[in-house]
Amino acid sequence: MECKLKMENDILTAELDGEIDHHCAKSIREQIDLEIEIQNPKTLILDFSDITFMDSSGIGLIMGRYKKIKQTGGKVKIKNPSPNTYRVLKLAGMDRLAKIEREEF
């Protein structure tokens, strides 16, 4: 699991790679939270283009970051989840908290 962070024009992008589960969620969470505290972005983009698996630990991860960035008026966007990840996001109602941007399949 990899998490590459980029800050540009008030937008923090986290490019995630691999599988999101409970085992790796802690490290991703710590990296993103540290960057949110330093950079204070207005938008957090979670780029899921290279995520091949996600379970409810990923939902907890997104909800936690959503709550954190909301405190300073920021928002979360989720980019390019796979069809399977999208089903987990929909089940959890994540589309009501965050904008989900999908490419055509």
Binding site: E19, D21, H22, H23, A25, R29, F53, D55, S56, S57, I59, G60, L61, M63, G64, P83, N84, R87, V88, L91, A92
Partner: protein, 142 residues
């Protein structure tokens, strides 16, 4: 219904084994020629049940996770995931969406995901004895 094939495994309740558990069960079920979606459903549901053993059942002590996968002749799959951990006091309450004892970073959606991605799930638990989660899924493809 006759059992066509069976897998049994026993794993230490360590988070590093979460990906191994779902990947190996996914690979075992692949002999039924499932769709990508069906495999993903099974891997996700297994990941939820195995993660629950690690986070909740063995929160205060270490232990083992016991998994049996049975493939029946009618293409139905039965996956039993058992722990000898702390057990669940009120299973119906625990299965409600958003219910969690796991704190801030948990969504409380593991059982909801298992229910949505399987045909049926069964949960039996006893305080101090452990929990058995059974996942049922028919592979319909081809």
């Amino acid at each position: 219904m006759k059992v066509k094939n069976q897998l049994k495994m026993q794993l230490q309740a360590k988070s590093a084994n979460e990906s191994f558990a779902r990947a190996s069960i996914g690979a075992f079920v692949a002999q039924l020629d499932p769709t990508i979606e069906e495999i993903s459903d099974i891997k996700t549901a297994v990941s939820e049940a195995v993660t629950n053993c690690i986070i909740h059942a063995y929160k205060n002590f270490s232990g083992e996770i016991y998994i049996t996968v049975k493939i029946f002749e009618n293409n139905k799959v039965k996956i039993v995931i058992r722990d000898k951990g702390c057990g669940i006091d009120d299973v119906n309450k625990a299965m409600q969406p958003l219910y969690t004892t796991g704190g801030e970073e948990r969504a409380g959606l593991g059982f909801a995901v298992m229910q949505s991605f399987c045909d049926k799930i069964r949960v039996i638990s006893k305080i101090g004895k452990g929990t058995t989660v059974t996942l049922f899924k028919e592979i319909k493809s081809k």
